[in-house]
């Protein structure tokens, strides 16, 4: 599709806007990209919607339409197990053609690319232009299965109260079998257990026991 004068002006303005914001390093934990707008003198709202869905799907998970012409897509889960990037493409039908805006957000530093980079790729896929290869989003660290002894993740049994168990997860949470929560930390073989106060325990050389401060726990394989 050839761009008319109106389209070219819109694209030029958007590109200039991007150039203005591009130079600023993204220190923010939430990075929002705004400013890319495209006007088409031809086509309908449904044409815009079809292209929105396709362009979002090229970089993110399948898009969903919240209202006619308004699309949202998110990335796959990042290292923390939640999406770290998202983009919206919003179409509005005009008397002739349509106007569409592109807005993107990423969570830094977990996401490997900026919101501007994502929005530029989605927009260029929509109306044509150079598309950059975005770095892959790091996959979540799998929770060890079985009796891994490299950390404390897993289930532990209280040697003094066999009915009491502790489930420790990868994010440092501890939950006992009664639903009481706390936290764990491991440095070397020293375990810090925050559970009804702070306790220091020692992890055995084989990684299957930890004892100290009145606690004696055995890893359940």
């Amino acid at each position: 599709m050839n761009a008319g004068p109106r389209q070219k002006a819109a694209i030029l303005a958007a590109a200039f806007g991007l150039a203005v914001v591009w130079g600023a390093p993204a220190h923010a934990a939430v990075d929002l990209s705004v400013g890319i707008r495209h006007v088409s003198d031809t086509g309908s709202l449904s044409d815009c919607s079809a292209k929105a869905r396709e362009s979002l799907g090229a970089f993110l998970a399948p898009a969903t339409e919240s209202h006619p012409g308004e699309w949202l897509a998110v990335s796959k889960n990042g290292i923390a197990g939640t999406p770290t990037a998202a983009a919206t493409v919003r179409c509005y039908g005009l008397s002739k053609g349509y106007v569409v805006t592109f807005t993107c957000a990423v969570q830094l530093p977990d996401n490997p690319y900026t919101a501007d980079a994502l929005c530029l790729d989605v927009a260029h896929t929509f109306y044509g232009g150079a598309v950059s290869v975005l770095p892959p989003i790091p996959t979540p660290t799998p929770i060890p299965t079985g009796c891994s002894t490299v950390n404390l993740v897993g289930t532990w049994v209280d040697d003094n109260k066999p009915g009491l168990t502790f489930t420790m997860d990868l994010t440092g949470n501890v939950t006992d079998s009664d639903g009481v929560s706390g936290n764990w930390g491991l440095r070397g073989n020293t375990v810090t257990l925050t559970y009804y106060g702070n306790h220091t325990l020692t992890l055995s050389a084989d990684g299957k026991h930890m004892r100290g401060d009145g606690y004696s726990l055995t890893r359940k394989c």
Partner: protein
């Protein structure tokens, strides 16, 4: 005797408070994006949309920046940064002229936690602050 009892009681209370604090601080942060409202305002020039967008972003987020050169109608605001200079919330307002009026949309993002407001809450506040746009 009493001093020892008081010390132990205070120590236990402090330990419990610390434990509860730490146990509630482990929730993973998640990116939250909201496709907010779209409004069509008839009989009013887009300049009014731009003025209302700037005012709404400034009142809700503390700042407003029109992206690009001239009256682009593409507005952005970011939540106040923390002590490390990081901002965890942002909002965008897009104004576009129509033959008789304008169309405005609201889009927001937040990282929750630590941001107190979800993306939806930010967009709701922006929409309310924008008002009728007349």
């Amino acid at each position: 005797m009493f001093r020892r009892f008081a010390f132990r009681t205070l120590s236990a209370a402090a330990g419990l408070a610390l434990g509860l604090t730490l146990s509630t601080a482990a929730a993973p942060a998640a990116l939250d994006v909201n496709v907010g409202a779209q409004k069509v305002v008839n009989g009013v020039p887009v300049a009014k949309c731009n003025a209302s967008a700037k005012s709404a972003l400034t009142s809700v987020l503390g700042n407003a920046l029109e992206i690009g050169t001239g009256d682009t109608g593409e507005w952005k605001g970011t939540a106040s940064p923390d002590s490390s200079g990081n901002s965890f919330g942002a909002g965008a307002i897009h104004c576009y002229p129509l033959d008789d009026g304008y169309v405005v949309t609201f889009t927001c993002a937040a990282q929750v936690p630590p941001n107190a407001d979800t993306a939806s809450a930010i967009c709701d506040k922006l929409t309310a602050a924008f008002g009728s746009g007349r």
